[in-house]
Symmetry: C2
Subunit: 191 residues, 2 copies
């Protein structure tokens, strides 16, 4: 870890942050966004963008890394191993369902543009949190064991994504999302 690289000037660091912010938004809501669009959204010249991120690919990877790190942080804070698995699951949904969703949309893009291989390990890092929670639920006897674990995880992520889309299109109110998700997922997952 540590402060690798040469020390950057303050405005450079600010721009890099702005670029990553803008890129995250654009990539998730319009995956084919051009570098020009990202630069504009970040309030930065195109050349500056390329100065920090030599290629679209590098930029995507950077955004991915940053988002995964953040998501890991949020999940770790919101859903430790306290309480029953059911409680912890509800807490997870309530505090971080939109983070998990961003995460998911970004992965669809990364899978297409970076290939599945360079994704697996990083993906693991976050999925494991959900998978671990479900595994604990199985031990406690509240989560079903008649379906493969991978499918249960898929179910969670899939409905998370669906809820976010319904919120986007106005079919579902954002405030209701977590409740609706919990009401749908618990019966689907419980043993």
């Amino acid at each position: 870890m540590a402060t690798t690289e040469t020390r950057r000037r303050a405005d450079a660091e600010r721009n890099i942050a702005a670029i990553l912010d803008a890129a995250l938004v654009l990539f998730t809501e319009e995956p084919q966004s051009s570098m020009v669009a990202i630069a504009r959204a970040a309030g930065v010249g195109r050349v500056t963008l390329y100065a920090h991120f030599p290629s679209r690919e590098v930029l995507l990877e950077a955004v991915l890394d940053r988002t995964i790190a953040e998501a890991g942080e949020v999940i770790r804070k919101a859903a430790p191993e306290e309480g029953s698995a059911t409680e912890a699951f509800g807490r997870l949904l309530r505090t971080s369902w939109h983070v998990l969703n961003q995460h998911r949309k970004l992965f669809e893009l990364a899978q297409r543009e970076l290939g599945p291989v360079r994704l697996r390990q990083r993906h693991r890092e976050v999925v494991d949190h959900v998978e671990g929670l479900l595994a604990r639920g199985r031990l406690e006897g509240v989560i079903r064991s008649d379906l493969p674990m991978t499918w249960l995880v898929t179910t969670v992520y899939s409905l998370l994504h669906a809820a976010a889309e319904d919120v986007n299109t106005g079919q579902l109110k954002a405030d209701d999302a977590a409740d609706v998700l919990e009401a749908t997922l618990l019966p689907a997952l419980k043993s």
Copy 2:
């Protein structure tokens, strides 16, 4: 309906079918596929493609129309109003889950490239079948009424999509998909 247009030669008709077949596959599994790729996959020259479908947009619309017609046919045959809603639902999943999924992936693309407006009505045409089935289930008291109907429909389509993806990546066996879907959806939807 009738045989509109001038009568086409047999080989032309064959090519058109091949193009629509190839386009359906490519559009659903790689939405940004180029016209060149589609022509190659159809075993047809690029010029021939443009001769039949003057633009990418027209081609997409044609594929959409054809798929919706097929899907409507399949669903109508497989899931009439016979038996209980639960039974009919199982039958629907077992006979047409992959059709419904193609349908869904194609719509994601069409929504992006054709805009949401030109889609609604055609979308309705197919979604109504699922929605109607769920509505009947509510009357029979087997489908929950505590969540919005739109969300229930979303849930069905979303998991359909997820199952197809898991089959693609090898995490789920194609033969198990319908069973797994039913085992997940019924508890999630039942009252």
